[in-house]
């Protein structure tokens, strides 16, 4: 359960609810020889759609502003998902092909939102135009009369729905784990509020009688107050989450944690050992400030908005740090000419290969489809 342990919502209902409802809906609506009233499937599907929308709005830990772009995004992605479900549950393959055309058109809307106008046009022309029309021709050439096994039965619907939706739940949990930084933000806020405080609040301080020096001169660690124990656990959880993003440093043979990670760990340990009771309250504040600063820096490193200067060594050799801006960078405004330049400057060999592939596929399709069946 370590996967779910650090998320603010231990059972991850934001992911589980839409996945369970969606799986139920798709399983219920898949073609089957039994007659089922579609109402329950539609209800479960609506619940799943609402759950997915809630996951997108809240579960990823980022606020969505109320802009036209957000409205268009939800409209297009809602259309895409609804028509995708309609495509896989429809008993009539011609209707499935039309639903797929709608999926392609909605995806093209999303492409347009992502600043890819040339790709939008190309996808509409190739997919929604050429490929779908070819599909409709094949459907017309292979018409069947009456009920058929091909359209009215599903192969192992429960198992395949389970496989697909377990995969989907894994994707969504992974996205949430990577992009939801609310745990880290709360921890940073908590630590820096302690560092700014004039006096450390009483409920953090271990009782004075629990701090004693035994006759050997050692300090046994004092009993922590619940508030202090909670603080330490929160900081450790946040540290576990952000330290995945920084390189481990080493000399090629032995690897250790990054210095910032070590600093934060040491500060948390000191706070725990002392029970927040140093002779000088300034020390406690300094340690809290160390924790807050370290977590903030690690968070920036993980987001890619700060560049780690250290040589990144890992068990697999040397890795160059990936430079990423915090938000999206600018794409060139002249999309078509920029794509053409990238295509023919950086990917010339791939263009040639794609052309060869298309030629071979054309010859192959003619050779396969044009051959006449010999008389049996």
């Amino acid at each position: 359960m370590t996967l779910l342990a650090d998320s603010p919502d231990p059972l991850n209902w934001t992911v589980l609810l839409p996945v369970l409802a969606g799986g139920l809906a798709v399983w219920y609506l898949l073609p089957s020889p039994q007659k089922r009233p579609p109402v329950f499937g539609i209800l479960a599907g609506l619940v799943a759609l609402g759950g997915v929308a809630a996951f997108l709005v809240r579960g990823l830990g980022q606020r969505i502003p109320e802009t036209v772009e957000a409205g268009l995004f939800f409209g297009f992605s809602g259309l895409a998902v609804v028509f995708a479900v309609l495509m896989i549950i429809n008993r009539n393959p011609a209707r499935s092909a039309l639903a797929f055309a709608m999926v392609v058109l909605s995806t093209c809307g999303l492409f347009l939102l992502l600043a890819a106008p040339f790709l939008t046009a190309a996808t509409i022309v190739i997919y929604a135009g050429a490929i779908i029309v070819t599909f409709l021709f094949v459907i017309m050439l292979s018409q069947q009369e009456g009920p058929s096994n091909a359209n009215l039965r599903a192969r192992e619907p429960a198992l395949s729905v389970a496989a697909g939706f377990v995969l989907l739940a894994t994707f969504l949990v992974g996205l949430q784990r990577v992009y939801d930084r609310r745990t880290v933000d709360a921890a940073i806020e908590h630590a820096s509020s302690l560092a700014r405080a004039d006096r450390i609040p009483e409920e953090y301080l271990s009782p004075a009688e629990s701090i004693n020096v035994d006759n050997m001169g050692n300090h046994p660690p004092p009993a922590l107050t619940p508030k202090a124990a909670e603080f330490a656990a929160e900081m450790r959880a946040a540290l576990r989450q952000v330290k995945l993003g920084v390189p481990r440093v080493g000399d090629g043979r032995r690897f250790g944690d990054h210095p910032i990670v070590q600093d934060v760990e040491t500060a948390i340990n000191f706070l725990e050992i002392s029970g927040f009771r140093y002779r000088d309250a300034e020390d406690v504040r300094t340690y809290c400030q160390t924790v807050a600063d370290g977590l903030q820096r690690l968070k920036h490193l993980r987001q890619g908005s700060a560049i780690s200067d250290d040589l990144t060594l890992s068990e697999h050799g040397m890795v160059r740090p990936v430079e990423r801006p915090d938000g999206p960078r600018q794409l060139p405004a002249a999309n078509v000419s920029a794509i053409g330049r990238t295509l023919f400057a950086d990917h010339l060999l791939a263009v040639e290969l794609a052309g060869t592939l298309l030629l071979v596929a054309t010859i192959g399709a003619i050779a396969i489809a044009g051959r006449r069946e010999r008389a049996p």
């Binding site: 798709v26 997915v52 997108l56 990823l60 980022q62 995004f73 992605s77 896989i88 429809n90 393959p93 092909a97 797929f100 995806t107 992502l114 600043a115 890819a116 790709l119 190309a122 996808t123 997919y127 050429a130 490929i131 599909f135 094949v138 050439l141 292979s142 069947q144 009456g146 009920p147 058929s148 096994n149 091909a150 359209n151 009215l152 039965r153 599903a154 192969r155 192992e156 729905v161 697909g164 939706f165 995969l167 989907l168 994707f171 996205l175 938000g327 999206p328 600018q330 794409l331 794509i339 990238t342 950086d346 990917h347 794609a354 592939l357 054309t362 192959g364 399709a365 003619i366 489809a369």
Partner: protein, 139 residues
């Protein structure tokens, strides 16, 4: 603004739905459409990453994906036509003698629902009488 993970989530949903369609449907054409839908989910991921990194390599990759998908569609549809000519059906389970040795064949036990046969469209008898065309001779 809508950021990267939202698009990735939508792409993941399209991919998973396509996977389910490919695994569970038995019509060859619908299976192939589902595979194309998985490609759409992946293309959405590529374009979103392209926007996020601020370079065009993702969009170029999507162009190649579209080219390969077009090849795939051409070859696959030609193959489907050949298969249809052999068995007069697009049901993929008719080809299950290609399965691994030692596997039990799938047998459909539940009967298909009977669809009431459509009544033939009524044929109307020719109404009225064709007027006799008088041939007039004008002198």
């Amino acid at each position: 603004m809508i950021s990267l993970p939202h698009y990735l989530a939508v792409g993941a949903i399209l991919f998973a739905l396509g996977l389910i369609g490919f695994l569970s449907r038995r019509n060859l054409i619908v299976m192939f459409l589902s595979a194309e839908m998985m490609l759409q989910g992946v293309a959405l991921n590529f374009v979103a990453f392209s926007r996020y990194h601020g370079n065009l390599h993702g969009q170029v990759f999507t162009l190649f994906v579209i080219a390969v998908a077009a090849c795939e569609a051409g070859i696959a549809l030609a193959l489907f036509l050949r298969l249809y000519h052999r068995k007069r059906s697009l049901d993929v389970s008719l080809w299950q003698d290609l399965r691994e040795p030692g596997m039990e064949p799938t047998v459909d036990t539940e009967p298909l629902p009977s669809v009431p046969k459509e009544e033939p469209l009524p044929h109307l008898p020719p109404a009225g009488v064709e007027p006799v065309r008088e041939e007039r001779h004008y002198v």
